[in-house]
Symmetry: D2
Subunit: 339 residues, 4 copies
């Protein structure tokens, strides 16, 4: 099967390339970059040295493929949707363009131009196999959720389904620098970013409506940039609204994720690895989820690699389903320890 | 004035030594270490090379001084209190021994032996000049609060005093590795600790009762070990219980901290440094405090260097007051940027 | 084919487990750990959660396998060699026990007990496929070289073979903390290790004789612990002893490594990735090699992941050859970028 | 005494501001920034919050002062020299403009425009008190050497003076990101810079002629960007050309630096702090120097904070001398440990 990447020179594009070059069925035939046209992929992605001869393609020269992954900046995928629909049977978009269904939320976070896109969003199946596996099996258009939203949704949805969420949820999200892309700027300048604990999104983060849409809870996010390149961790403070024991929470999660290939429950009573953290997930498509609790509060913790499960890996997993392939195809790397 | 340090070879002891060696009035005459007796201070604290000839003293050979700072492990200061009282007019303890007044909380977090110490705690003035300046001016015994507690208390007390705290407060605390001391162990082993976001205290942290005692609010803490050696940051999620505008919160903080030499309000609308973070506070005695808010929530953020304002610096500031010295003495280092 | 790991709970053991659990032919049937006997592998290696049910085995209960990898501490493999020889057709040792042939060097760096082991060393084929591929194809005993030695040897041997090394070579090696293992101690305590540039081996490093043995040059190493968990980088300063142009050096390396599956030549004139560095090699079995030069000096740079190409990956690559398997089996992960 | 900073918004300008705001005699009256004119200093330097009301000045509105520090980019100080000479009795330049005396080296590293500046360079006393203290006492123009050059010169000059340098010296320099300034760009983008060991200057570094000029040795530098914001470490490989014992090297250094307020000799036989490293020097004006040796090689190691001893601190120390002030004025911060 032939696959291509639109917007292949960014960090998400590079991660897609890594996964597709190691994929047993999907063959990467094109990756576009205006700036790097004609140069080998490893010009932008030095880890890909030695993986073959593929060079970046002019975005105007897209060939027809079976699966087209788009890692274009916000708005650009939507603008080319008509044309791109003719280029591939399956379109997988990793931008926010067709994530939000609520036009008011879309406008608030992405501006007036996003209202029309919200109208088109229902045509896209969310790239969240844990919630939408059946719909993904027949999807021809997929919209992959945001990285922090994915981590939060996977932590919260089982609790909501079990009636264990009463009122708003406070979601503390911590993120590495790669989520902001590869364009240099003051916020990512190393002397300012290296040791930071920058609370850059204390209130009103744009991933809040995605969480509401998929987990059915009102999340109040606070986002902190932490000293890491890759990785997202979410700590969600949930009021169950009633007595809830450890066993009941375990049941909720086990019921939701039994048999899930990429969700692992991590909730030991003690030890260094008792709760999820991103460092041993880098490069992996896992989302680890765990929790602790006291008498009237559940502290749910989830972690993932923002470029893999939070973007390129979630996209490939979803595409595997839509293409009728084994869901794990190309996604077996387990992560490293120590890291 | 003569000062000494009991427990001079640990990280807090080293920070006390740095501050006292640069203090214009307090002269460091002894720093004890059983292990390093007879060796120069820089054996344990390499930054102190070239600051003089002082060597570690056997703890049994304490001379009488004006101010004795104790950085002994939990329980050891209390065990020697009778003897130490004869060694110095002013005792400043940096351990948890005499912090908690509530015997139930003391027992819960520090074991049955802590109940008696709780009974003795009221004889110690808390080493928090922002709250207890007048009492500190006449104190002969001082107990310095914990580092995360200090950051949380300074962020929350003005809100509580202004009637802006309704119900529990969720306190997300992030901490560097130096707070765990200089004894090697699995949790601090570099390959496990370097890139970690370890939620090691999801519920029930021992600093909660200190916050209740001093800020009058019930704090529910979640503590995460982050990739840093020094520094504590607290993000407190407060429900004001009524409409509260930005101006009112500013007023609450300004009223509390006008003229405070070591509290800075940091709450810009934008920019890289809009909210407090520890990196530009390392070595400094400042606690930076800021906030943002939405319609029904205040997100208060504070930061400090756990070894300075959260320990040795707070101790010296308190001792300055008790000794009738200018409060800033020996504490003028402003921190570095970039870091 | 059945494989097992002796000493499975350490960092090298964990990396072997990761590679073998993903290996298409070699099946991991046992991994020993005295301390963790009966517990699942992910007790020590959290990245391996979800990879199966294997639990650690008592080292006394080793079954017979086709390939036995030993990651025991120095001296222990040699002590059990007789017994272990009956347990597996192929023994692959990752300790220093049978690396050195020169008894004087062995005694100098590893003590008097190492002299006898040096006598037994020639029975072990060095686990360096780039130099000893043909011998590895028929090997029944393999000794994998040290991580820094591997990086240095692969950078220097082609230059030596081309007559481009005149006199001693100065080898500046930089290493992450994982190379020192998972036992906590003062040198690896996070507050001391996190931001260090510790020149802990200014002269006389134990990898020098390995370099002499395999590259035929006298290396003078200086080793610095740098702020990283994984990764080794070597910067070798070579005097060619005669005029040597860029093309000649390229030729030497291309001739040596044409077709090598895990050596990549990286020597661009400019750009961020002009010379090798470990960060995009983490988890990968590649050794990247590059150079620059001026009129009378070649600066050769190599990089690898000390736990993969410098240990477990080199071991699996060598075992693949000895077992008649495709050399890349289980070793296709390309590394991540950004990291 | 009145002092001002030309180019006050960069990292070196900020460090000058920190030092002058804490200086007992020099009063900072102006710091210029075109971009930040009228805004408080802490807009660019958040560590300076609370240190007073000073705002950035338009560079065209420089008042006459006693000491003018210039942290302008390369070439700009020289272009304004005539005008600036009327603004201050003492000019201290921190750019490379008037460092190099050799016109050929100046042209090679800084272009044709640098040749004229080389002709003017002898009018500037080098800001290296350890070598030029007497000349600095009467200087009216000072040119502060580069940060890596300072570290290398202080390590090598005593060896050269003692006849312990035979032939070229290989200088391995490691540097943090702050040395490249505060302008964002690809090389300093956090995802590319955070974990790097980038050998960006394998041969031909521009600090080589400075080392030749001041230490009298031919240095062959290799420069690596390491994971740090602040700090420079130099590892110099010296061939003494004859038998040289530890005592003789100690003597050379002790003779050179006895009584030096900011050079510390650090050369223990063992321990975590046996050789210099930058982490415990951050914020301090110290340059630590140490060494180890074997039969025919001296490995000299030095470390400093590039923004302090390697720039602003060296400038203030030099200005103190020229202004007849105690040399340590404003420079007493000893650095922190752990860091």
């Amino acid at each position: 099967m032939r696959a291509s990447i639109l917007g292949g020179a960014g960090y998400v594009g590079g991660e897609l390339a890594r996964l597709l070059l190691g994929h047993p069925v999907l063959d990467l035939v094109q990756a576009t970059s205006r700036r790097h046209t004609g140069k080998p992929l490893h010009t932008a992605h030095p880890n890909l040295r030695g993986t073959g001869d593929l060079a970046f393609t002019d975005p105007a020269r897209l060939e027809r493929v079976d699966v087209l992954f788009s890692a274009l900046p916000h708005g650009e995928f939507a603008a080319r949707l008509g044309e791109l629909s003719e280029r591939a049977a399956l379109l997988v978009d990793l931008s926010p363009d067709f994530r939000l269904h609520d036009p008011a939320a879309a406008r608030r976070h992405y501006g007036p131009g996003a209202v029309d896109r919200a109208a088109g969003a229902p045509a896209f199946v969310p790239g969240l196999p844990e919630l939408y596996r059946d719909r993904l099996r027949t999807a021809d258009r997929i919209a992959v959720p945001g990285c922090m939203a994915t981590a939060a949704i996977l932590a919260l949805r089982p609790l909501a389904d079990a009636g264990l969420v009463d009122g708003d949820v406070l979601v503390d999200a911590r993120t590495g620098s790669s989520g902001s892309g590869n364009t240099p700027g003051p916020a990512g300048h190393h002397p300012e970013r290296a040791s930071t604990l920058r609370v850059y999104g204390p209130v009103g983060h744009r991933h809040e409506p995605e969480i509401a849409q998929h987990a059915g809870v009102r999340a109040r996010m606070t986002v902190t940039a932490v000293p890491a390149v890759r990785g997202v961790q979410v700590v969600a403070q949930v009021r169950p609204g009633r007595a809830a024991g450890r066993a009941e929470v375990w049941d909720a999660y086990r019921k939701a994720y039994a048999g899930e290939p990429f969700v692992r429950l991590v909730a030991q009573r003690q030890g260094l690895h008792r709760l999820p953290e991103p460092r041993m997930l880098l490069g992996s498509n896992h989302c680890d989820i765990g929790f602790d609790l006291d008498e009237d509060r559940i502290v749910a913790v989830s972690a993932l690699d923002n470029l893999v499960k939070g973007a390129a890996g979630g996209a490939v997993q979803s595409a595997n389903l839509a293409a009728g392939l084994p869901e794990r195809s190309g996604l077996t790397f387990p992560g490293l320890h120590p890291m």
